[in-house]
């Protein structure tokens, strides 16, 4: 499992990158490898509100559809539309394949550092 230092991680396997007052959200390497080959992505639109713990996008592998949850409450300020035509880029480079940029953040869940997230994934595997 690949991790990237400097990012924060959610227990539902999203990564969060802080950029000033805004954040970028994507799926972790562990998530993409568990999901398998991704072939379709549904994204919100600019201006949509997202809320902590609620689904804001979904990704589909050959086998199944999975929700992507927002670790923050805020407003979508940009959407990575390149993912729509190239969902496989989430498998290839999960930490570059951001889904949305979120501004006006009013709430966020407790996020994990890379080391904490790694320990969390290990504990989930054993469960």
């Amino acid at each position: 499992m690949e991790l990237r230092e400097g990012l924060l991680y959610s227990r539902s396997h999203e990564w969060v990158k802080e950029e000033g007052d805004e954040v970028l959200i994507g799926l972790t390497d562990y998530a993409q490898s568990e999901l398998g080959d991704l072939v379709f992505v549904n994204l919100p639109e600019e201006g949509d509100e997202v809320a902590t713990g609620e689904s804001f996008a979904d990704v589909e592998s050959v086998k199944a559809v999975s929700d992507v949850y927002s670790p923050v409450t805020g407003v979508v300020s940009a959407v990575n539309e390149e993912l729509l035509d190239a969902p496989e880029s989430i498998n290839e480079a999960p930490y570059d394949a951001w889904f949305v940029r979120v501004k006006d953040i009013s709430d966020r869940e407790e996020l994990l550092t890379a080391a904490e997230y790694e320990a969390f994934v290990e504990s989930e595997k054993d469960a």
Binding site: G36, V39, F40, K63, V65
Partner: protein
Amino acid sequence: MERKTPLYEAHVEAGGKIVPFGGYLLPVQYKEGVIKEHMAVRTRAGLFDVSHMGEILCQGKDALANLQMMLTNNFDDLTDGQARYSPMCNEQGGTVDDLIVYKKADEDYFIVVNAANRDKDYQWMLDHQFGEVTFTDVSDQYAQLALQGPKAMEILRKVTAEENIPKKYYHAVFDTEAAGIPCVISKTGYTGEDGVELYLDSKRAEEMWDALLAAGEEEGLIPCGLGARDTLRMEAAMPLYGHEMDDQVTPLEAGLGFAVKMGKEDFIGKRALEEKGGPARKRIGLRVTGRGIIREHQDVYLGDRLIGRTTSGTHCPYLGCPVAMALVDADCTEPGTKVEADVRGRRVEAEIVSLPFYKRSK
């Protein structure tokens, strides 16, 4: 508690992602992933562990008469070594299972059934048998491997002699060997590609698995999981029990009329099928034209009219687009018709297309 196939350890070692299926623990994919495994079978070759499939022997003086009564297809002209696909119906015309019957010799048949239906089928056969016949569930003694793809026969020829290989589709050579291991070689499959399925003693499954993978290394043979098995059968529009048909769906509705011989004197379910007349709903293919993937159990609409539900659906790697199969009202099956499916509250556009979605060029 799920059963393990004799190759369970080999799958784990090869990086297989293990999931429960039909009462067995099987790999849904290996390291390469579903798409690469799927493409390997379409362009080169793939090896599948399908040991979860059930095997039942039907033997005795009245074996043929029992098959004729329990199954919808006709078996009285089957030659030694020949195989034939058939649904098995209940009295209401619903489908108990779909299966393949091999004739080993007179009064000696080998039946292959779906894993999830193995116990149900065996019990069904015991409940309906008559005369001098013995049904024996030998599933645990047999492993089954499927070697599939345009390079499959070339790979097989490296491990066995030409005379051990069946010449024609739906034929098998019993009591033969490959890689020095006793087996049945059957020219059948569930991928829409050329290839064979091997039945052998489960104790020697790992040996055969390793021998075939080694033999096919040059040709690019890779192990393939259930994920690719499902996307391959979808592209080839092969029905899967529990999806395209079940106890409530007749084989005629499922588009399996070619394997239902209404001219036979009698079989279980024949009267019900006669009384129903032409099927009220039919299996169709859908090619997604909108954005999204239509999966199973989604409502299908023609305008505002609900015409049926999908039975299977996924993204098809070789076609490069999502497709689905659906059971819809018999008056709404014209290819080219534009319909919509309700995908989690969102309408996704699709077009009715003729089946199969994919057919290999010979």
